[in-house]
């Protein structure tokens, strides 16, 4: 652009696009399913990097600086996910496709694990996707965090049975089974809107408008 500090990224961009296209073409010879997952993964990564979405900031900033913009973006994300999840589960049920979801009941170990993850998240300056984006951008510090993330996930995954046995789990509740899909969706959207309003009120109060 206006000064020489900008080095053109064009040859890198063309190179990567070429590499990805070839890789996807190769992969599609082996499995269409894998190719679709790969495309979805790459698109998600691209959007995440460009959107600067930061889960850490969404949870930390309301307390630290009184800003809730990202918190509200996160609530919007939850709302969209809820609708998408409902659509997928509902259409799967219509066509009798069994869904295997990695959803586990809540327990004391969930809270402890969440706290541990939260502390690590703030120290590392990014959640799991945030760290992956940073590594892609070329930050070295996040490689260390990624190592910790990988070790932690493996250890957690291996020992989760033990923890849930030791602490006990709450009985799992699936709201649509009790209330039906439509009331559940309405309830959830109302709850999210209430949180949204609360977040907006919080920022106004904190910044003294």
């Amino acid at each position: 652009m206006e000064n020489s500090a900008f080095r053109s990224q064009r040859k890198w961009n063309i190179g990567f696009i070429l590499f990805l296209t070839l890789l996807l073409a190769l992969l599609s010879q082996i499995s269409i399913h894998l190719t679709l997952i790969m495309v979805l993964g790459i698109s998600l990564g691209f959007v995440l990097q460009k959107s600067r979405f930061c889960l850490v900031s969404a949870l930390r900033d309301p307390i630290l600086v009184g800003m809730t913009q990202l918190t509200r973006a996160f609530l919007l994300l939850l709302g969209i996910s809820i609708l998408g999840f409902a659509l997928v589960s509902w259409s799967a049920a219509q066509r009798n496709i069994p869904l295997s979801l990695n959803i586990f009941p809540f327990g004391v170990h969930t809270v402890v694990g969440g706290l541990l993850f939260g502390i690590g998240m703030v120290l590392a300056g990014g959640c799991s996707t945030g760290i992956l984006i940073r590594i892609g951008e070329g930050f070295a510090m996040q490689l260390v965090a990624f190592f910790g993330l990988a070790v932690g996930s493996v250890l957690g995954e291996r020992s989760v049975k033990k923890w849930s046995n030791a602490f006990g789990e709450w009985p799992g509740i699936f709201l649509p089974d009790i209330l039906g899909w439509v009331p559940t969706l309405i309830l959830e959207i109302i709850a999210l809107s209430a949180l949204w309003q609360w977040a907006r009120w919080w920022q106004k109060k904190q910044l003294g408008e």
């Binding site: 080095r7 990224q9 930061c54 630290l64 600086v65 590392a124 951008e137």
Partner: protein, 76 residues
Amino acid sequence: MTRFAIDIWGEMCPIPLIKAKKKLLSMQCGDILVLETEHSCTSRGIVVWAKANRYTIEEKEVANGIWHLELTKTHE
């Protein structure tokens, strides 16, 4: 109209903003705070924060992955 600068190079995300907030307290109205970061989220976060606080801020990417910010303390 004094120009101040603080070093936030390489700092993890909440720290630049906390440092900037602290520095702003000691500045007079009309003073400018100059910040430079290599972290896009830090830059974005400070810009959003400054706008929400009704400070004037200018953001410029001066080189690949380096952002230069100038924040004017327009009010107390």
